[in-house]
């Protein structure tokens, strides 16, 4: 395997890790505040469709992005209403959102575009294009540093950079600001926040809304940057992989990034090496494709050590007497 191949695999790792990372950070905000969210998948899917649809109709990817975020926020609001205001079961609400998104996207897509539940392919301004860093052409031929700079770091869409910048930003917000302190507290012991005179409901809605925005960006990235348009079920379980990464990362931002990169790497390897020949034994492509999901199951089954979720996670807050 030559150096350029490694760089290319890593480059596609970054691209594939991006939606996972955005969704993972989305889940991190929500779950740190005590609201479990298995509806990441549904929010991403809804956003993927609306961003592609609006981008296709208006020709503006930025309007598409806004539409995607708005659609995701709507579902986030629904989850908030069910699990915060009405104190419903957070898992059931999340499942409902996933089903809703899976059905609605295809239905509306068929009604609007009549292309078998997909949006028209996006071209030109309807997609997020790559951003080439200065001097990348010039430096491309410098050994080692050149390819790393030109291939790996440069040439991604803006949303990739947003996702990776969101990691330190999330860390800073959570651990260096008043909002972050309160957010973490409300996921651990809402009664402590309440008796300190701070609104539990307000904080939790804020967290759920941040989750909605990040899922919106993740969905828009899938449909308007990674791919060129929406197809049925295009999230392909990424919301659940993001959840697994979140548990793997034990709800910490930097760890979340590394976890998502690991999943991205597995997906990149599966894409690049379709049938791996190990001295006579050929590993079929299906095995490679299944790897991220296998890892998800392994992580969720608790093989990677005990992960302690936020203590008040999943439980609606009721003032006790």
């Amino acid at each position: 395997m030559d150096f350029l191949t490694i760089i290319q695999v890593l480059d596609s790792t970054v691209r594939l890790a991006t939606p996972l990372l955005l969704a993972c950070l989305a889940g991190l905000f929500s779950e740190r505040a005590g609201i479990f969210d298995i509806g990441l998948e549904g929010k991403m899917l809804m956003s993927a469709f609306f961003s592609a649809a609006v981008a296709a109709v208006t020709g503006s990817v930025w309007l598409g992005l806004l539409a995607g975020i708005a659609a995701s926020l709507l579902l986030a609001g629904l989850h908030g209403l069910a699990s915060i205001t009405f104190r419903g079961n957070q898992l059931i609400s999340g499942v409902a959102i996933n089903f809703l998104a899976a059905g609605m996207t295809v239905l509306i897509a068929q009604d609007w575009f009549q292309q078998g539940g997909r949006t028209p392919s996006l071209i030109g301004g309807g997609r997020f294009g790559p951003i080439d860093w200065p001097l990348s052409e010039t430096l491309a031929n410098v050994p080692v540093i050149g390819p790393v700079y030109a291939e790996l770091l440069s040439g991604h869409s803006i949303l990739v950079y947003v996702a990776f910048l969101a990691v330190p930003a999330t860390w800073w917000v959570l651990f260096r600001t008043r909002f972050g302190l309160r957010l973490r507290a409300v996921g651990e012991n809402p009664a402590a926040v309440d008796t300190a005179g701070v609104s539990v409901v307000g904080l939790r809605y804020a967290a759920v809304m941040i989750c909605g925005v990040l899922c919106g960006i993740a969905g828009a990235y899938l449909a308007t940057a990674l791919q060129a348009g929406f197809v049925k079920d295009m999230t392909a379980g990424r919301g659940f992989i993001a959840l697994a990464a979140l548990i793997f990362a034990k709800w910490r931002p930097w760890h979340a990034m590394w976890a998502c990169l690991l999943f991205g790497l597995l997906q990149a390897i599966a894409l690049r090496f379709q049938n791996i020949d190990l001295g006579g034994v050929v590993i079929p492509v299906q095995v490679m494709d299944a790897l991220p999901y296998v890892l998800t199951v392994v992580i969720l089954a608790g093989f990677v050590g005990k992960a302690i979720p936020p203590r008040a996670g999943g439980e609606p807050y009721v003032k006790e007497r």
């Binding site: 651990f175 260096r176 600001t177 008043r178 909002f179 972050g180 302190l181 309160r182 973490r184 507290a185 651990e188 012991n189 009664a191 402590a192 926040v193 309440d194 008796t195 300190a196 005179g197 701070v198 203590r311 003032k319 007497r321």
Partner: protein
Amino acid sequence: MTVPAIELKGISKAFGPVQANKDISISVAPGTIHGIIGENGAGKSTLMSILYGFYKADKGEIWINGKKTEIPDSQAAIAAGIGMVFQHFKLVQNFTVLENIILGAEDGGLLKPSLAKARKTLAELAAEYELNVNPDAVIEEIGVGQQQRVEILKALYRQAEILILDEPTGVLTPAEADQLFRILHRLKDEGKTIILITHKLREIMEATDTVSVMRRGEMTATVKTSETSPEHLAELMVGRKVLLRVDKVPAKPGKPILEIENLRVTDDKGVERVKGINLTVRAGEILGIAGVAGNGQSELLEVLGGMRPGSGAIRLNGAPLPLSGPGSDARARRAAHVAHVPEDRQSEGLIMEFHAWENVAFGYHHDPAYQSGIFMNNAALRADTDRKIEKFDVRPADGWLAAKNFSGGNQQKIVVAREIERNPDLLLVGQPTRGVDIGAIEFIHKQIVALRDQGKAVLLVSVELEEIFGLADRIAVMFDGHIMGERLPHETNEKELGLLMAGVNGEAA
């Protein structure tokens, strides 16, 4: 006359048909400690929740320092200078002391300046009130006594002038409780007003200047502490004369019923909680296990009751009982005539949603008396329940009521009736009177003593020293999974037991 720090005028609050507070008025002078005493469900906590903005009163006014004040939420209570130390601490377990203290009282969007300021203020408060805690300690790694200090510091950091403490000594060792009262007196000397809610008469007598008594949502009396007596207060609480001491003849211990040898028990997290203890309980005696909650007593009871495996050896009437594997479960223990009144009646003693008559049979469902072919004989069960309800004076006397609709005391009577009426050789009792009103305490204690007088063995675990002194014929003190020592009640005192409970063994030293 000075303006009262707090004045409540005609506070009423109903939850559905239940009148929790009925036309309550009190007035507390600044710089005093005011006690509020009453049985569980008398409405003490509701009243304080109204004062702290958790509930809105249906009627009535709150005056703080001579000014009518609306308290719609906790924020308003804090602004009015009220601080509250809840019975169950409101701390974030994995935060540091400092983070807990600034939570909700930060000075700006960024944490750094807030933390620095809190660190400085904390040092000043520590010096002023002898409230020392390590600001960087994580809450889950410090003891409950320390955690309580953090709660007090939280209130002081918010410049509280009025401090409300709800059952503050429930989780403390006697020494820690003494320390708490010293701190409270210090706060009082500095001009703070303190409201102490408790059901322990002794604390009221020792710590307060004035005391109000609540019964069934009403304020029945407010008196100067120096002009009253425990007996008088108990009578005001219950509405009739109560016997505060348990009336019993000296024990006549017979042959050993339960022998425990080198018993070791590990909890769910793999931590060893009982570390090789030896105990004997004889026929016709009550062995009391004293200790602060969480020192292995619960695990001891669970293993004896067949709810958890252990290692070592136990013998009942000379015959060994298995500690793990087949024959070590709760059903086998019951078959061996070991009855168990578990510590937490709501999660282990009863199914709260089920009828009283169903609860009366739990653990004994397979008794042939309750069977009719392959079916349960519900009629027999209900008849049995009615008998027990009458004998144990359960109120209301309605077997069809769900367990959750009985008061704490009556729930406990149902559990005690179920276990004692099986006529066991050994009765295991955990915290028999936790959350039980004084009237029912008296009754339950009588039943336990009556069982002893029939020549049965009783193992009593209680965190209430008064209960241990009142009931036990012999006292063993548990600390950190070890038996620190055994004493006879008339040869020891609270101070000595308190030291043992804190792990200080006078004999060894």
